[in-house]
């Protein structure tokens, strides 16, 4: 067996023509070796003699191979060269080169980082390489660019392209009052609240008293109990809690089950089936009594007297506020109606009449101030507020046409712009008027008259239809002198307060729905809650009744906190407030939260007693009125002033 030891490249150059040198490949690399497979020789030398193949080169048997492997230390680096048919022992250099190739690395001797020779800029030549002049197109602005820009411009002008709206951070968008308007309805679904978390006992303390610490046996018992309770089908939520005592706070470690417990609670909240327990678990009967809310929590309500409106000469019987909350109108016994600007107390207008003004109200829709004086009802367009509304009212009144023959008892007459600047409509009755009340949509006007003793009481209520110009007595027979009437805020329901009772009629069905039993001797005033389920009723015997229409026909609550006759009761239209005024010179503001949940009782708490009016001839505050939007209240009194109380 022959093998050729390859020399290092440096030495091999010196010994190229030594005799031991085995002839190298003379057949050339493109001649396939298999052509010589069946010959003894391989190629020819310069003298055209055959070069004999080395004996058994590359064709050793397994035993030779094994012996070679055992004896030759360089066996691992010996490879068979097909071209020469010889075994070649690789040098260290060869191996290093192979490893380099295998690892995809460059030869460290190769100069990879040769300095870069910049052919063009390193030597600045005096003559340019290319000397063609620049094209004409390079001086002319691009047409296509212009068209493209024009397209964008047009799109921006037309509003097709909009600037990217500023990004809203969903995490930081809750800077507003979500509960600014109190709810009208409760949840539509049945709501079973999840039980609250159990509060910790003494044993959970970081420093419990010794009796709460567990022995080893007790801990074992706890563990076995836990295991015996184990149920495959159920989710494991409980962790074993072993009380521990630490002598000082700094030794308390972090509780490693904390996150897990929170997680279990989260799972409980959304995975656990809930069931409503109909049987309440009451241990203490006092728990059933709800806590009285703090006055701070009942805020806002009127507290301080802020403004006084002066100008009337006699006692002021009635007030009304414009729906915008900007104007206030007051009617007085000095036969005038004054319109005030609320914010400044400036008197905007004064209307003089012949008889004392008993009642007035602003039309909820039109710009018509309706005034009841003597036996007349006058509708005034005071031309305040929105111009459009004023003009609309003018137009509306103009296109009304009345058939005089229809109305036997009352006389409708229109007044045009030429004859009077403000008064637009006059309805004249044969008998004096006590009260007027607009329906919420502003088309019907209910009117309480004072019939003469020889007339029937059925003539005491009259309903005027403004757009039709018709008037009718809706009741054929009525018992008792009518004191006050109200329309239901949303439904076609009419409420009449006579001296002793309150009757509720359905106007479309034309039937009596309910009759409320009042425990006052003489009703002075009633009001209906803006949601329409509660009625407040004040009496001259200083009682106030609260009726819950869903509950009973008897009063839900009776208050006797006024010392003298109650003159007026009013609800706030937006906020949960009501007020009552009395001859004792006080106006008591109460908080009243009404819930649509039938099981929950209304929460009524008197929160403030307002004083300020003088008592003249045993009369003090005659009327009160809440501002339509703010928690403010106006009171008018016998001392011919109006006072505004604000929060």
């Amino acid at each position: 067996m022959t093998s050729v030891k390859r020399k290092d490249s440096s030495t091999s150059t010196d010994e190229t023509d030594s005799d031991e040198e085995v002839p190298s490949n003379t057949i050339g690399s493109d001649i396939p070796l298999k052509w010589y497979e069946n010959h003894d020789h391989i190629g020819y030398d310069l003298d055209a003699k055959k070069i004999l193949k080395p004996i058994s080169a590359g064709k050793t048997d397994d035993i030779d191979e094994f012996l070679e492997k055992m004896e030759n230390a360089d066996y691992w680096r010996t490879v068979y060269d097909d071209l020469t048919g010889q075994n070649i022992t690789l040098t260290n250099e060869d191996i290093a080169l192979m490893q380099q190739v295998k690892n995809a690395k460059t030869n460290p001797d190769d100069q990879v980082y040769e300095p870069w020779l910049d052919t063009f800029s390193s030597e600045v030549m005096i003559h340019p390489i290319i000397n063609t002049p620049e094209s004409k197109a390079s001086f002319i602005p691009s047409k296509w660019e212009r068209l493209k820009v024009g397209k964008y411009l047009h799109a921006i002008k037309m509003g097709w392209i909009k600037p990217v709206p500023p990004k809203e951070d969903p995490l930081l968008s809750n800077n507003y009052d979500l509960w600014s308007d109190e709810p009208k309805t409760n949840l539509p679904r049945s709501n079973i609240p999840a039980p609250k978390l159990e509060l910790p006992g003494h044993h959970e303390s970081y420093n419990p008293s010794v009796e709460y610490l567990l022995d080893d046996a007790e801990v074992e018992a706890l563990k076995t109990k836990m295991e015996s309770d184990y149920d495959e089908n159920e989710r494991q939520t409980k962790t074993i809690f072993v009380p521990k005592k630490y002598s000082s706070l700094r030794q308390v470690p972090v509780y490693d089950q904390f996150v897990y417990e929170r997680f279990q609670r989260c799972l409980d909240l959304y995975l656990c089936p809930r069931q409503k327990r109909l049987k309440a678990n009451i241990t203490n009967i006092n728990d059933l009594i709800p806590d009285k809310p703090k006055p701070q929590d009942l805020h806002p309500y009127p507290i301080v007297q802020s403004l006084i409106y002066e100008g009337h000469k006699n006692m002021i019987r009635c007030l009304t506020c414009h729906s915008s909350g900007q104007w206030l109108a007051s009617g007085s016994d000095d036969c005038t109606v004054r319109i005030w600007e609320i914010a400044t107390t400036r008197c905007m207008n004064v209307f003089q009449f012949d008889k004392p003004v008993v009642s007035l109200q602003w039309n909820p829709v039109l710009s018509l101030l309706t005034v009841a004086t003597g036996s007349q009802i006058l509708m005034i367009n005071p031309k305040l507020g929105e111009n459009a509304k004023t003009l609309f009212t003018e137009e509306f009144v103009k296109q009304l046409s009345y058939d005089a023959s229809n109305n036997d008892d009352c006389q409708w007459s229109k007044t045009s712009d030429e004859t009077d600047k403000y008064i637009r409509l006059t309805i004249t009755h044969p008998i004096p008027v006590r009260q007027i009340e607009w329906q919420a949509r502003g088309d019907y006007l209910a009117c309480v008259l004072i019939p003469r003793s020889d007339q029937s009481q059925s003539k005491s209520i009259l309903i005027h239809h403004l757009s039709k110009g018709r008037s009718q007595y809706p009741f054929k027979q009525l018992k008792g002198a009518v004191q006050n009437v109200r329309f239901h805020p949303t439904k076609p329901i009419f409420i009449i307060a006579t001296q002793h009772s309150i009757k509720i009629y359905h106007l479309l069905k034309q039937q009596l729905i309910k009759r409320l039993y009042v425990n006052t001797k003489w009703i002075s005033s009633i009001d209906i809650h803006p949601l329409g389920d509660n009625i407040l009723c004040g009496g001259y015997d200083s009682k106030i009744n609260w009726f819950d229409l869903d509950l009973s026909v008897k009063p839900y609550e009776t208050y006797r906190y006024h010392k003298r006759a109650v003159r007026c009761v009013r609800y706030h239209t937006k906020l949960p407030l009501f007020a009552s005024t009395s001859d004792d010179g006080t106006c008591i503001v109460s908080h009243c939260s009404v819930y649509s949940d039938l099981l929950k009782n209304p929460l009524i708490v008197p929160v403030k007693i307002l004083r300020g009016h003088q008592i003249i001839n045993d009369l003090s505050i005659l009327d009160c009125l809440f501002h339509p939007t703010q928690p403010w209240i106006f009171t008018s009194g016998a001392d011919s002033t109006i006072r505004l109380f604000t929060n």
């Binding site: 930081l172 008293s209 009796e211 909240l269 809930r274 069931q275």
Partner: protein, 498 residues
């Protein structure tokens, strides 16, 4: 004839799989939706009827609830999110950078405002359900800011929790507090609603193994929205400026390297300084109760109780008003600063410990210093050194307890839970009497005469320079008995042993 299963339980309840089919949602989306909308399974009165006669173990939802879910706009957002993610992965795989950027800019998001309003139609409803919300928000506020947990929300949690604590401080509504092994329990009464929450011990964070943070994150999503609105409402109703601002702007000294906003946030988070109020004529908290009006309905027992309660609240609000505290660095600063400030005390700490320190340890007017180490070398004579448990015990007892038992290095009396309400026949640990009895012989010396001789003695004793005299007070302390005796007493009273 009426067909069977056409009305009643069979149609009122719907199983979970039916619900999924109806809503066309995947299970995970359905769960997310249920968490956000607060829909939970219900237990039908009769399972067999609900399942049309079959007796298989199923989860039932109210059919009405599911019908209510069908109108939810968030479902649409879930679908948008799904297609957004699909597009994004596609763009990323194709290496379309501009498209990817455009997609990211238009990432769909949903807001939960309407859900909060739906679930809590009134503010009182929201307050009633605040316990879980606060506990989870406080937990996440204490987490390290990890990318995995969506860092901005963790920051939001921190902010909201600090805001809430500031509100409790400003309104003085803290009622009870308790140091448990699990964490610090606090209880506040806000608008008549009792709210309890836990703040975990702030000591490192171990990632628990068997917890699915995705579910917690969904809860947190809703809870942060809720707490944001609640905070806003509480602040605006209490006449405070929201977001909270300090009454002064902390001057950025040259040594701080952060922006001014972050600097004031840090001051705010320290809980040591008061926050700004709205300039109002009649701030809500200063409205005087119209006593006359309150008595119109007549005096009842409930009124008497209410008055007592109010008095108690007032004493609690001003419990530490005469004290000036200094918190040593080994005491968990935040909890104690909160508890002290909520009860009207002044508090400070080492300047290097946290921002917001208003006075130094050497301040002569400090009356109490909280330390939690066995011994301190240079002690000032004119102040009391107490262990932190004294604060919590005093708050729960509604009076300043005698400091004798709480001196540094001494064996502390057991810390009892204020949440346990003993009924007749229950076992009451003997230490309980010492705190509860109003006419206890042990009366704390009023704090204006703090540098009294007693104090000097006790401090000197601690320094080792004086031997402590036995005072008479120790006679009245609960009798020390062995553990076995007490345990037996507990078992006997709780009825385990005759």
């Amino acid at each position: 004839m009426q067909k069977k299963y056409k009305k009643g339980a069979a149609v009122n309840y719907i199983s979970r799989n039916q619900a999924l089919r109806k809503l066309q949602l995947t299970l995970s989306d359905f769960r997310r939706l249920c968490i956000l909308k607060g829909i939970y399974p219900v237990e039908p009165k009769n399972r067999r009827k609900a399942n049309r006669g079959r007796l298989a173990n199923k989860t039932y939802y109210l059919a009405k609830d599911i019908r209510f879910l069908t109108h939810e706009p968030i479902i649409d957002k879930f679908r948008q999110m799904k297609s957004y993610l699909r597009r994004l992965t596609k763009a990323r795989a194709r290496k379309e950078k501009t498209r990817e950027q455009a997609l990211r800019n238009n990432r769909p998001f949903y807001k939960l405002d309407h859900v909060v309003r739906e679930r809590y139609p009134s503010f009182a409803d929201a307050l009633r359900d605040l316990d879980d919300c606060l506990t989870l928000v406080f937990l996440f506020a204490n987490f390290p800011l990890l990318k995995k947990l969506y860092e901005p929300r963790l920051r939001l949690c921190r902010r909201l929790s600090v805001e809430f604590l500031h509100y409790v401080i400003a309104s003085g509504s803290l009622k009870k507090c308790f140091i448990s092994i699990k964490g610090y329990y606090f209880q506040a009464e806000i608008r008549g609603e009792i709210i309890t929450w836990i703040i975990p011990h702030k000591l490192g964070h171990k990632n628990p193994a068997d917890v699915d943070f995705k579910i917690m994150a969904t809860f947190l999503e809703f809870y942060t929205t809720l707490l944001g609105f609640v905070n806003y409402k509480l602040y605006s109703e209490h006449g405070l400026i929201y977001p909270p601002k300090l009454t002064f702007t902390p001057t950025t000294s040259s040594s701080t390297l952060c922006s001014e906003d972050e600097f004031s946030d840090e001051f705010l988070a320290s809980l040591g300084l008061p926050i700004m109020k709205k300039p109002e004529l009649n701030p809500v908290d200063r409205i005087e109760i119209d006593q006359e009006a309150a008595q119109l309905l007549g005096d009842t027992v409930a009124d008497e109780d209410a008055r007592k309660k109010e008095e108690e609240a007032k004493t609690l609000q001003n419990l530490f008003s005469k004290c000036k505290f200094f918190i040593s660095r080994e005491v968990p600063r935040e909890m104690f600063a909160f508890a002290i400030r909520a009860c009207g005390g002044d508090v400070s700490w080492d300047k290097t410990m946290c921002a917001g320190a208003s006075y130094d340890v050497s301040d002569q007017s400090i009356t109490h210093q909280l330390i939690d180490r066995p011994k301190l070398h240079d002690m000032a004579v004119n102040r009391v050194y107490v262990q932190p448990q004294w604060i919590f015990d005093s708050i729960n007892a509604r009076k300043l307890l005698p400091v004798d038992n709480y001196l540094p290095g001494s064996v502390l009396p057991p810390h009892l839970s204020p949440f346990v309400e003993e009924k007749e026949g229950d076992y009451v640990p003997p230490e309980r009497f010492g705190q509860r009895k109003p006419d206890n012989d042990i009366e704390e010396q009023t704090t204006n005469e703090v540098p009294s001789i007693d104090l000097v003695n006790s401090n000197a004793y601690l320094n080792g320079s004086l031997k402590r005299k036995r005072t008479e007070n120790e006679e009245t302390a609960p009798k020390i008995t062995t553990k076995e005796e007490r345990k037996r007493a507990m078992r006997v009273e709780s009825g385990q042993v005759q």
